[in-house]
């Protein structure tokens, strides 16, 4: 009886010790959105991390882009967000307007090597002095043109803003009414015109301090007039014309596939899907970036293509920071990741991947990034510039102008007053 009791107690003790061993093994959760190649690469990098850190296990949660924000929002609202999350730059005002929605990554700089990242990139992930998101790669909108259509029009790619304006009538004359040098959606127009305005006046569109649009009424009118001139000069099809094709991604429309819309002002990180949809043998080439004489800033909409953040409720933020560091800065991590998250921003990763030939200079996205890196870009873009309501208002004004419902003057005035109201509400 005694022996049985001792055996029972030993059994209990051993079970107890097993439990305590399991309790010591930490589990991290990590989430991201993306396509299959990103899922596979990230899972590989995570496995490498687990090999190097046997006391930490990582549970991965990944989806496509569709519905990811809604899912993450629900998790954050319920305080059940993952430890490590892939985040978007323009989500920061939603989740962490005061910098307290995510952990401050500066607190973990002993395990997370931030010296691999340039300061402007870190600034883009900083809210109220707290580094809430570490940019993985950077992107900006630049010009890409359909080589074949521009050849047929007998034109060299535009070098200046004037050249862009002059290309429209030539396209119309040589190729016909359905051919345009460039295709622009509302969000492309607002970013492109902002770039022009920054070059001309040296001020961004959104004034974060005073919570309003930074332009004067005359400048706002110039902003809208620029779009109206582009439509008048056949540089880009009007929103009314494009709406005739129904709601879809631009690169899915036949005129894009057939090369009738012969250029885009697009994120370098997203350009390959535009190129891939062209009817062979057509292809895109990187254009020149137009600069006004004497301007000190290109006015690029330069922002992190994606970031890593640590959840504010994470119980193991140090290990979460280690995981981020492993994926972005350590060879086993960035080699597994490759270019699945764009051209890495981490210096160590970029250097190594260039040396082994993973980063190729002739890739459209890489070529775009090197152009971006060469352009002056000191003026930061406010995260509120991408406020969906603000963008929606701009698109509405454009459409009303194109439908002939309002004049350019009224569109500028209306946008100014309603836009200021939206910004005030967003920044309250």
């Amino acid at each position: 009886m005694k022996i049985k009791t001792i055996a029972f107690l030993v059994g209990i003790a051993s079970v107890g010790s097993m439990v305590s061993v399991n309790a010591n093994a930490e589990e991290l959760r990590m989430s991201w959105w993306g396509g299959n190649s990103r899922h596979a690469a990230t899972n590989d990098a995570v496995k490498e991390f687990e090999k190097a850190n046997p006391t930490i296990s990582v549970k991965t949660e990944y989806t496509g882009w569709g519905g990811h924000l809604e899912r993450l929002t629900t998790q954050i609202a319920g305080n059940t967000e993952p430890d490590v999350m892939q985040t978007n730059w323009n989500w920061m005002p939603i989740f962490s307007a005061r910098g307290d929605g995510f952990k401050d990554l500066l607190d973990y700089s002993d395990v997370l090597d931030l010296s691999q990242f340039d300061e402007s990139a870190l600034a883009a992930g900083t809210n109220d002095g707290k580094l809430n998101g570490l940019p993985i790669s950077m992107a900006a909108r630049v010009f890409y043109f359909n080589k074949d259509t521009w050849d047929r029009a007998g034109l060299a790619y535009p070098v200046s803003w004037d050249d862009i304006m002059k290309a429209g009538p030539i396209f119309k004359e040589k190729l016909g009414d359905e051919y345009f040098p460039i295709i622009l959606e509302g969000r492309d127009v607002i970013a492109m015109n902002r770039s022009f305005m920054v070059q001309k006046y040296g001020i961004p569109m959104v004034d974060d301090v005073n919570k309003k649009i930074a332009y004067s009424e005359a400048q706002m009118l110039e902003f809208f007039q620029m779009y109206a001139d582009m439509i008048k000069n056949h540089v880009a099809p009007s929103s009314k014309y494009v709406a005739g094709f129904g709601k879809a991604n631009l690169y899915e429309h036949k005129p894009w596939i057939n090369g009738q819309w012969a250029g885009v002002y697009m994120w370098n990180s997203a350009i390959n899907k535009y190129n891939d949809n062209l009817k062979p043998p057509m292809s895109l080439e990187l254009g020149f970036y137009p600069m006004l004489k004497g301007s000190k800033d290109a006015g690029l909409f330069y922002k992190p293509a994606q970031m890593f953040s640590i959840g504010k409720n994470s119980e193991n933020p140090e290990d979460a920071a280690k995981l981020i560091n492993f994926i972005l800065n350590e060879p086993a991590g960035y080699n597994a990741m490759g270019l699945a998250r764009g051209v890495p921003l981490s210096l160590a990763a970029r250097r190594a991947l260039s040396l082994d030939g993973t980063i190729k200079d002739d890739d459209l996205s890489v070529a775009g990034l090197s152009q971006i890196n060469d352009l002056p870009k000191h003026i930061l873009t406010s995260a509120h510039f991408e406020n969906p309501r603000f963008l929606g208002l701009f698109e509405e004004m454009m459409e009303k102008m194109d439908q002939g419902d309002i004049s350019v003057e009224d569109a500028a005035k209306d946008f100014m007053s309603k836009g200021n109201r939206i910004l005030r509400r967003a920044m309250r």
Partner: protein
């Protein structure tokens, strides 16, 4: 007896629990949320009637409301008239009539699916099927989705095309009209048109009323077609109210204002339905009534 009562409640409890949890609770919560500033992340902040006040100055609210009423008033008469016409034709004893009854019902089975909306977009697109067809006769391409009036027409047509369920109900009603009344009218020398307007229509007014209420409440909540086909454009010409509610709550993360908009829609539909019910005593005739009830 008491045991049976408890057993009955047990059997229907999944439905009751579902109703309370997934309908009644969100319904009442949204009313409370409509008095708050709530972005889903930060705790809701009570702001009284601010959301409703903001609505009064919100041009998009008026635009969207106007578009929704235009959509409802365009869709419902067309759909009911078309459904009644087809039901009337299918009520004749013709060869292969069962096949036609099935064929006309098929669009309703497909329902308001995204796939049908995508197909609709492909038909009405500038380079779509309809323009290609018209091109055969030398007609120049029409921007069905780019011109506000045509865009509304294209979206409306999708709902009108799905007339099957209303048609089947009309058909059942037409078959229940007593033949003796037609025979008596025939003896009195009534024409076909007179029989239709003086006998058929009055006798099926309860069914017309039922279809009217059902189709109207559904039309007020239409979402899929404008979302997929036009995205609410061009220039917000097909920006139905449900689309505005969705974008406000889940694109702009303004759940307080989104809930307030949803409640305004609820009240608008309720008022419209109440007026319809009130007016029904002047034009809906139930069997056994002497004149209008």
């Amino acid at each position: 007896m008491y045991e049976n009562h408890r057993l009955g409640l047990l059997y229907i409890s999944p439905y009751i629990i579902g109703l309370l949890l997934f309908t009644a609770f969100p319904f009442l919560s949204s009313l409370i949320i409509s008095f708050t500033d709530y972005d889903l992340i930060n705790p809701p902040e009570y702001i009284g009637l601010d959301n409703y006040r903001y609505m009064m100055e919100d041009e998009t609210f008026y635009q969207s409301m106007w578009v929704t009423f235009a959509y409802v008033f365009l869709t419902i008469p067309l759909k009911l008239a078309f459904a009644l016409f087809i039901a009337f034709v299918l009520n004749f004893k013709l060869r292969g009539i069962k096949f036609f009854r099935t064929a006309y019902y098929i669009p309703s089975i497909l329902g308001s699916s995204v796939a049908i909306a995508v197909l609709w977009r492909a038909i009405f697109s500038l380079d779509g099927l309809l323009n290609n067809f018209l091109g055969i006769f030398g007609v120049e391409a029409i921007s069905w989705l780019g011109e506000p009036v045509f865009a509304m027409f294209s979206v409306t047509l999708l709902r009108v095309w799905q007339f099957g369920s209303a048609m089947v109900i009309f058909l059942a009603a037409l078959q229940s009209v007593p033949q003796s009344q037609y025979e008596a009218a025939l003896i009195d020398g009534a024409s076909k048109w007179q029989m239709f307007t003086k006998i058929t229509i009055p006798l099926i007014t309860p069914v017309i009323f039922f279809n009217f209420i059902m189709q109207t409440t559904q039309a007020f909540q239409e979402f899929t077609a404008p979302y997929v086909i036009t995205g609410g454009g061009p220039a917000k010409s097909t920006y139905l109210f449900s689309l505005y509610i969705y974008e406000t709550a889940f694109k702009y993360f303004d759940l307080g204002y989104g809930s307030a908009l949803a409640w305004v829609l609820f009240v608008a539909v309720a008022i419209f339905t109440a007026i319809s019910f009130k007016s029904s005593k002047y034009w809906v005739f139930y069997s056994g009534d002497k004149g209008g009830k």
